[in-house]
Amino acid sequence: MNDLGINEKNMFYFKDALKINKSIEILNISFNLIGKNINNIIYLKEALEVNEKIKELKLNLNFLFSNHKNLFYLKQMLEKNNSLQKLNLSENNWNVDKHIQPELSLDLGSNNSIKELILSQMNYEYEMRMLTYLKED
């Protein structure tokens, strides 16, 4: 929870770090508003297309499904990445963008490395609580 997604420069520099990373295997960037800006997703995609070390990626609570373009770039990333084994996209609310249906979430493209996909608590009510919390903050 560092609000990385608020300023896309954060993700720009983070991307460069991830590209040369040779040790981190579990990356948890949950609750960082990443899905609020499409450029954040593009930077993440660029990083993970190159990185071959990360096996587990947690992207919970990032408003990823608030824009179907986010999913488009995530899918592109998955098509090129062959190291991720566990992907957690929970709590990202797939009800916001009417273009997004659950079957899209199941489309992993040509990825053949992911063994575990977690898509829990994508419900509207939960994110409403999140938005309320952010407003209060």
Partner: protein, 152 residues
């Protein structure tokens, strides 16, 4: 087509609200032979028997799922829900763990009867979790002491 995914967790998504949700999952699983664990718990599937019809179709045609979690889905709301599971299990030969816990099945004689029929199918192969279903002592006596049933 993806062939590496082994575990798919979709719990707590209100998928039962629209029957097309389970329909799409069923269609996806028709072409998939890699998923071994499917978690559909806490999705209110029992609100519409059509959801369980699609679960039956999954059980009939999928040959990779070993562990299916249907807990917390209010299955006890409609007798048909359990009938569809039974029909699916009659065809299925791969499921080894079926979680039916927290489904408010106890108290309804018909559902308990259907549940027993479910449990007797492939009884030596499948572990059934039917805990937290408000089953009465009389229900448990009726179902009997099958070693592969988790009551509590």
């Amino acid at each position: 087509m993806n062939s590496s995914l082994q575990q798919l967790f979709l719990y707590n998504n209100e998928l039962g609200k629209f029957e097309k949700n389970i329909f799409h999952i069923k269609e996806g699983l028709k072409m998939n032979n890699s998923i071994k664990l499917l978690d559909l718990s806490k999705n209110n599937l029992g609100r519409n028997q059509k959801n369980l019809y699609y679960i039956m179709e999954i059980l009939k045609y999928n040959t990779s799922i070993i562990n299916l979690n249907l807990s917390k889905n209010l299955l006890g709301r409609d007798n048909k829900n359990i009938i569809y599971i039974k029909k699916g299990l009659q065809i299925n030969n791969t499921i080894r763990i079926l979680n039916l816990s927290h489904n408010n099945i106890g108290g309804n004689v018909k559902i308990v009867h259907f549940l027993k029929e479910c449990l007797l199918i492939n009884k030596s192969k499948i572990i059934f979790d039917i805990s937290q279903n408000s089953l009465r002592d009389v229900d448990k006596i009726f179902i009997g002491e099958l070693y592969n049933i988790i009551y509590e």
